[in-house]
Amino acid sequence: MSLLWLIPLLLVAGVVAWLSERVRTTLPNWISLITFIVATLWVTVVWFSGPDTNGLYANWVQDWIPRFGIDFRFEVDGLSLMLIGLTTFLGVVAVVSSWTETKTRHGFFQFNILWVMAGVVGVFSAFDLFLFFFFWEVMLIPMYFLIAIWGHEDKEYASMKFFLFTQISGLLMLVAIVALVWFNASSSGSLTFNYFELVNADLDSTTAKLLMLGFFIAFITKLPSVPVHTWLPDAHTQAPTAGSVILAGILLKTGAYGIIRFVITLFPDVSQDFCVWGMSLGVVSILYGGYLAYSQTDFKRLVAYSSIAHMGFILVGVYSFNKLGTQGAIITMIAHGFSTAALFMMAGSLQERLHSREMSKMGGLWVRAPRMGAVTMFFVIASVGMPGLGNFIGEFLVLIGAFQKSIVLTVFATIGIVVAAVYGLSLMQRSFQGVPNPNVPKMRDFAFREMSVMVLLMIALVWVGIYPQSLLRMSDTFVSMLEFVS
């Protein structure tokens, strides 16, 4: 059975989970958890059974709106499969992390989680631009509900900001898509939204530049990169834990995926000229994101800003325009998904126990909850870029790639790693180490439920760190296809 049945599976499971609330209030959680576990195992099986002769793991094409040459065109290549695997795996993490957090309306909560994931799987496998845009927007609505209904004190503002930023940038992308299709139709005579035909579109360079910007702005808003990053800290801080995990772990990756899959391949020449700008934006994000992260007093906000810095590495890697940089960016996507998901889960657990995210109300927590301390230590170290763990591989490859393009920018990007150590260790210091805060109530340490997920995430990070070749091999087919002109 084709892996693409995953999308209807998630959609149906969402509806079932919603309805099952009437039977028992805990049933939605279980349905959701089992669905994600099954989905993850399914991806694993497909992964190991290997691609078909075209290098694809699944594909499906069907007419949708023939009048405009719009199809359901799904394809899963190595890159897509990796990201789909990340999605389903983090689905498990998201469900477990919010197991006890939501007190009401479990059914609708799980419905939204499952539907976001269905949308994301669609984004990662759509090869028709209309279809891609469709999923791109559709995954936002349940995400919006997650923040707006189950969010914390300032949820209205945060959810609105999140939605406005992504929608408005999405509108630009829609204009760019339609214009690209139209220009292609007027030169080639066939109206089609098929990615594989649009790749060969014949555009003059000014048009291409403008269209590229339409896509680019939409994707860096989602990534997010400075200067369109301001929605992220708010959305993250206010979102429920599962929302943050999904947002940081997966939704940000759709932006990176968009740049790698669409911007670079649809507009190769213009992107080539644009690469200094892309890299510079990345470097600014790294440094500025790191600087802001250090200034935060809110645990979750700090992690949110650190995401901006990490996403900067992806921009630097992609716009280095060589194989190493691109591969590094892809590894960073995966590794950052694991490490940040864990940190957000930690932030959620702390908030559940202390009813606060303020680090001034923490301090010396290690004594109270040694397991939580150790876990946090591991993931902070990972996100700082410790060799042997996934994030290091990603960032290292990015830097090697970038070095070939621009030494100056690479130097600045490397400074970012130092900054990461500063804010990462200060996070650790202010929350778990130091003098125990006398006002902290007695708190429960991680139990089996939380530890099992954390251990899985640790194994995943170590695996990426020690044996990155298994991932590099998966994305190699796609990356080798890119035309890199040095």
Binding site: R67, E137, I141, A148, I149, S159, L171, W182
Partner: protein, 485 residues
């Protein structure tokens, strides 16, 4: 054209007219709400079905009935749309009448008359039939708006609408007179000045200026929009729904005819004026909607913006009239569904309330208090904002295609800015609907099943046509092609 063909093609008009007579006689014999309602619904249904028979007459795609009407598939498509909308209004209106009004039966007469006026317009190719249709709608609407005769706001709204719509009609008539003075004919197709050139024909241009001002009044385009929020606010929700959809749709259908048959857009000045009006409507309509806290006023301003969006399709007539027509039809279908759904929700929720619900706070937590109405309102808001899964997105997609096809980059810019602003207030509706219901809020129980059923139907249509629009798109495409564009 043989007389038989003309009668066959004109069947829907004849059926509806006789239906009006039947309802009138029925009401005169004995006042019974149920009978009047049933007769009205039957009339509307039969009229819709009569289109199937009438369509057989359109062998060459077009039938001319005197010089007043040119009937084609597109006109029929519009007719069916208007009739369906009237059907929704009749169903929802019956509940509204039951609860609030003493004399119920005349409402149906007015509704049918207004519908007759609206189906006259899409086939009109002559200034006489244009003004006739327009005034039938207008006069019926004055009475419909003021129908709850004991309350102040409807009366105020009706008076405002009467005066301003009168002014609009006057401008329209004066414009027609000047166009006639230049061309010597009242037919759209012969409305260009006698010597064929437009440049320097000031009479023609001034005539058109008046004509379009009048039309802009009727469509509530900026800067002729001032009456809209007050009238929308004051009128009973269900009448507002009718006013916002059918009356505007009909006017749009006829000006589209005029633009195509009369080649008005050959004139650069008309084009420029319409472009400016479109931009202003999109941006200002949306901006003003931001400031509102009243649900009906938000929808009023949003309808101003939507009419502005639609002008993009009108402006495409110059270069690609076929696709322009497709865009208009599809957009109107989408707009009808979402607007009727939104006003329908307000109307159904008000069933057992002393006063009609108005403020946005009155729907807070609706999703948890009355899930069906809540979901429909969410879908309608998302659709109005043009977000995928809903037909509103397909409609917006058409606008982008139309705009890019016509190379109207300036308008596309305005469309993007307008939609971006729009998302904010539509989303505020969504947020209000899903937030936790205030503790003192009463549950909306005992709502009429007809109302909820209709709302569900509208909601399902928005979603299904949004996800799988293929058949609708093909239908419109074929109809437009057969009509010879």
């Amino acid at each position: 054209m043989s007389v038989a063909t003309m009668f066959q093609a004109g069947l829907p008009y004849l059926v509806l007219t006789s239906g009006i007579l039947v309802v009138m006689i029925g009401v005169a014999i004995k006042r019974t709400h149920a009978v009047a309602a049933v007769l009205t619904i039957i009339t509307l249904l039969v009229t819709i079905l009569s289109h199937i028979l009438a369509y057989g007459a359109l062998n060459d795609g077009v039938v001319e009935i005197t010089s007043l009407f040119k009937v084609d598939g597109i006109a029929y498509l519009f007719n069916v749309l208007f009739l369906l909308a009237a059907l929704v209004v009749a169903f929802l209106g019956s509940e509204f009448l039951n609860q609030r009004i003493r004399f119920k039966e005349e409402f149906y007469l007015l509704l049918l008359c207004a519908t007759l006026g609206s189906i006259v317009l899409p086939a009109s190719v002559h200034f006489a039939s244009l003004i006739l249709g327009l005034e039938i709608i207008g006069i019926s609407l004055y009475a419909m708006i003021a129908y709850p005769e004991k309350a102040r706001p409807p009366l105020e709204a009706s008076l405002k609408y009467l005066v301003l719509s009168g002014v609009g009609s006057t401008a329209l008539l004066f414009g027609m007179a000047m166009i006639y003075a230049g061309s010597g004919s009242l037919e759209f197709a012969a409305s260009l000045p006698a010597d064929g050139s437009i440049e320097g024909q000031y009479l023609y241009l001034i005539g058109n200026a008046f004509f379009w001002s009048g039309i802009a009044f009727k469509l509530s385009l900026v800067p002729f929009h001032i009456w809209t929020p007050d009238v929308y606010h004051g009128a009973p929700s269900i009448v507002t729904g009718f006013l916002a959809t059918v009356s505007k749709g009909a006017v749009f259908a006829v000006v589209f005819r005029y633009a195509i048959e009369g080649n008005v857009l050959d004139s650069g000045s008309v084009q420029l004026a319409l472009t400016l009006i479109a931009c202003a409507s999109m941006v200002i309509g949306n901006l003003l909607a931001l400031l509102q806290t009243n649900l009906k006023r938000i929808l009023a301003y949003s309808s101003i913006a939507h009419m502005g969006y639609l002008l993009i399709a009108l402006l495409l007539v110059e270069s690609n009239s076929a696709f322009g027509y497709e865009t208009v039809v599809l957009y109107l279908i989408a707009y009808f569904l979402m607007t009727l759904a939104a006003f329908g929700v307000v109307s159904v929720l008000s069933t057992h309330q002393e006063h009609e619900l108005n403020t946005i706070d009155s729907v807070s937590g609706l999703f948890w208090r009355q899930p069906i109405a809540g979901v429909v309102l969410i879908v309608a808001a998302i659709s109005l904002a043009g977000i995928p899964l809903t037909i509103g997105f397909v409609a917006k997609f058409y606008l982008f295609l139309a705009g890019i096809d016509g190379g109207m980059w300036f308008l596309i810019g305005a469309l993007v800015v307008g939609s971006a602003i729009g998302i904010y207030y539509y989303l505020r509706i969504v947020f209000t609907v899903i937030k936790k219901a205030p503790d003192d809020s009463e549950a909306f129980t005992g709502l009429p099943w007809t109302g909820l059923g209709i709302l569900t139907f509208l909601g399902v249509c928005m979603l299904v046509l949004g996800i799988y629009p293929r058949f609708l798109i093909n239908l419109i495409h074929n109809v437009v092609q057969i009509a010879g564009f």
